[in-house]
């Protein structure tokens, strides 16, 4: 009986060791797969850098006639790490101004861009905040309107709109028959000062293609393009992203 138990234990130990070696082998294979993928992205990055250079030098003819008016409202989403690089943000805005983009929304989840608002505005010549531009009619032709947004303008704005609607329409005895519609939410967002245009194109600067909580109510038909890290931002890749947007045809579900 004692010998039987010992043999059983030895067998179990052997299987355990085999399983451990097997798991180690799988882990090595996993790292190998990811190494190949990273090499692929490195090669892709080199190709994109070269293409960006050729575009910015005007050597790729098809990008030379760019109709930037097709982009009525452009949003830029960046990770908080990217948002801290104020000089890169200013460079990006200068490129967008050169391309002819008139309305830009800068978004980062934590609101770091809102905090750097003054530093950004003083470096740009023809720029007005969205709130000021919509109040006054004196928008100079060259002016670019700038909006700063963060996570509090997304889900929290919808929450505020819900509370506004509740207070206005659900507390009175006479309004038991009130039926909330999407227009009521639009009106509520306007009433609380959170109504902004839906962007046509959203550029994501960061490691992953993810909108990081950009206001959901405004993202319905927005084209979302991943641009990579902000420090690798290039004029040529901006041109390419906007050019590709101008070639998109939307059915809007029909």
């Amino acid at each position: 009986m004692y010998l039987g138990d010992e043999m059983h234990k030895a067998k179990a130990m052997t299987w355990y060791r085999i399983a451990q070696i097997g798991n180690l082998g799988l882990l090595l294979l996993w790292h190998f797969v990811h190494l190949i993928v990273n090499l692929w992205y490195f090669a892709l990055g080199l190709g994109q850098t070269l293409e960006s250079y050729l575009i910015s030098r005007g050597l790729l003819k098809r990008y030379n006639s760019l109709d930037s008016n097709r982009v009525r409202y452009l949003a830029v989403v960046m990770d908080s790490k990217e948002a801290g690089q104020t000089s890169e943000v200013i460079k990006l805005l200068q490129h967008l101004e050169d391309i002819g983009i008139k309305h830009v929304c800068l978004y980062d989840p934590e609101g770091l861009l809102k905090k750097s608002k003054e530093a950004i505005l003083e470096k740009l010549t023809y720029v007005k905040l969205y709130e000021e531009a919509t109040k006054s009619d004196s928008l100079v032709r060259k002016d670019i309107t700038l909006e700063f947004a963060s996570f509090s303008d997304g889900k929290k704005a919808v929450l505020k709109a819900a509370n506004y609607l509740f207070k206005k329409n659900y507390l009175c005895e006479e309004q038991k028959e009130f039926v909330c519609t999407e227009s009521h939410i639009d009106e509520a967002l306007k009433a609380i000062g959170c109504a902004r245009p839906d962007p046509d194109l959203l550029l994501v600067y960061g490691p992953a293609r993810c909108h990081l909580g950009f206001p959901a109510w405004r993202l319905r038909y927005t084209e979302i393009v991943h641009m990579g890290p902000l420090k690798s931002m290039k004029f040529g890749s901006l041109i390419k992203a906007i050019y590709n947007f101008t070639k998109v045809h939307q059915n809007y579900g029909t």
Binding site: N23, L26, L27, L29, W30, V33, H34, V37, N38, P109, E110, G154, K155, K156, V158, L159, A161, A162, N163, L165, F166, K167, N169, Y170, L171, V179, C180, T181, E182, I185, G206, P207, A208, R209, C210, H211, L212, G213, A216, W217, L219, R220, Y221, T222, E223, I224, V225, H226, V248, Q250, Y252, G253, T254
Partner: protein, 286 residues
């Protein structure tokens, strides 16, 4: 001859299943997504590209869906959500809408059969959206399928029909407001008054925020938040799908048309997810 060919096909199918299992074992050394959502774009383009009859693209698309579901469940993805029919799609030609509705009804009824993939993998099926917009036969078929699979618990398949994200948010806001109103009415009925137990000296700020974010999210059709949203045909927009739930979702847009999607596309999506996992997990915590 036919038997030989059939044996070869079966052997090939088993070999592919074994290969997929090996790939799964390698990839499961890293984190795996819990919730994958699909925007099944490209059925009509596939139809045009292959000169098929109208509606045939959607049928081939359904087969692609069944294969993709099988691969997801082999990867132990617990939640799969698909964008089957948008509220905007009702604006298509009536014949096209009717053809899609007929196909949906036929395939929904097939889901509840014993040998179907949902019973094979223990999948609970949920139909979400503004279901009142569907015609009665489709709505009843959906209700029967939900009832038949209610006790399945290994995975959840959420099928969005007559759905848009803005309609979902509207529904959540409406339900939250109505629930809060009923709560206050009940308090008033017990004599606590419209200000609840805090009494009439409850301050302005607390009155303004009767509803909180948890109450709104409780009424969303689709939970939990998605890890990956796959939209085929290379289109880069979400078209009013899971806008609320995609704050930290990886968006993946392969160029392939939906009826042509393969196992490799899912593998690539999972590899992308693993590459960005730590970054996206950090965003969830924030």
């Amino acid at each position: 001859m036919e038997r030989h060919s059939s044996c070869q096909t079966t052997f090939f199918a088993y070999f592919l299943a074994f290969l997929r299992k090996c790939i799964f074992m390698v990839l499961s050394s890293g984190p795996l997504p819990r919730h994958i959502a699909f925007i099944m774009d490209g059925n009509r383009r596939f139809c045009k590209k292959n000169n098929l009859m109208e509606g045939a693209g959607h049928r081939v698309g359904f087969s692609a869906l069944m294969s993709m579901l099988k691969y997801c469940y082999e990867f132990r993805v617990k939640y799969v959500t698909i964008y089957a029919f948008s509220i905007d799609n009702f604006r298509r030609r009536p014949e096209e809408v009717q053809s899609v509705m007929d196909l949906m009804q036929e395939k929904i009824e097939g889901l509840t059969k014993e040998e179907s993939i949902v019973n094979q993998y223990g999948v609970k099926v949920r139909f979400v959206g503004n279901l009142q917009m569907l015609n009665k036969p489709v709505r009843l078929a959906a209700e029967r399928a939900m009832l038949a699979t209610a006790n399945n618990s290994k995975a959840v398949l959420t099928i969005c029909v007559a759905y848009t994200s803005t309609d979902e948010i509207l529904h959540a806001v409406r339900e939250s407001c109505e629930e809060k109103r009923d709560e206050l009415d009940a308090l008033e009925a017990t004599g606590s008054g419209p200000y609840g137990l805090l009494g009439p000296n409850n301050n302005e700020k607390e009155q303004e925020e009767q509803i909180d974010l948890r109450e709104i999210e409780k009424h969303m059709y689709v939970t939990p938040d998605s890890d990956i949203i796959v939209r085929t045909s290379g289109e880069t927009r979400l078209s009013n799908f899971l806008l609320w739930q995609s704050s930290v979702s990886l968006l993946y847009s392969p160029l392939v048309l939906w009826p042509e999607i393969q196992f490799w596309h899912l593998v690539w999506a999972v590899i992308e997810f693993q590459r960005n996992y730590l970054y996206l997990k950090g965003k969830v915590k924030q």
